[in-house]
Symmetry: C2
């Protein structure tokens, strides 16, 4: 009979982990959080973010920032200027998240080579069958 594995201090039924994973783990969020974390004052304007993230569309940048704002990770400040300026800054909660996210990014950076090799090996083996 199958055993249920449990994670200490975490109940998958109670905490809808998935809801948050969908945020941290979507296509652009981690990237945006890392960029903000490494900006002066942990703050950047829309166009800077757009320029700093290769391949992101305006639509997705807007959408992702809104979601981060909704989660209280990012603050949005509009300046009444012409042309308009909008700045995004990590909130206290966002700055806090910076730590684990930074460690994850560092891990990826450090192990990317190994992962790539593993993928090649796996794909090669798969193609021979």
């Amino acid at each position: 009979m199958a055993k249920t594995i449990t994670i200490p201090g975490y109940d998958p039924q109670k905490c809808e982990l998935r809801s948050f994973i969908d945020r941290v783990a979507d296509k652009w969020s981690l990237m945006i959080i890392s960029l903000l974390a490494n900006s002066p004052d942990e703050k950047a304007r829309f166009s800077d973010l757009k320029k700093s993230i290769p391949g992101i569309s305006q639509r997705m940048l807007t959408t992702t920032l809104r979601n981060l704002e909704r989660d209280g990770l990012v603050n949005r400040e509009v300046f009444a200027e012409v042309p308009p300026r909008v700045e995004y800054q990590l909130t206290k909660l966002g700055k806090n998240l910076k730590v684990p996210v930074g460690q994850l990014m560092a891990w990826i950076e450090g192990n990317w080579g190994t992962i790539k090799k593993s993928r090649e090996k796996f794909d090669l083996k798969a193609s021979r069958s």
Copy 2:
């Protein structure tokens, strides 16, 4: 003129960060890694994982495990028994990833309440416009 923000020690052009984020950050991977990390011996069989992850379909569990295996994070061992038994175990690399993933999960666990409140507040404000 827009400034490009850079992350120290990480070049978005060189390391295809996105490829890996897509893995760690997809719908089920973090969950599976955490479960394996908290299993005895960091090892569990297919049916245990299935039972421990509310809502996952058999297809997605298979797919996700294959991808984790491809990245060298998880090892798959088939036992020639009837009925068959298949065990998945974190590799050395996977055990290593455990650390940053665990911290992220702990962060989520600790801040989930705050995030939920922020969402409610945001949605309420949005509905009044």
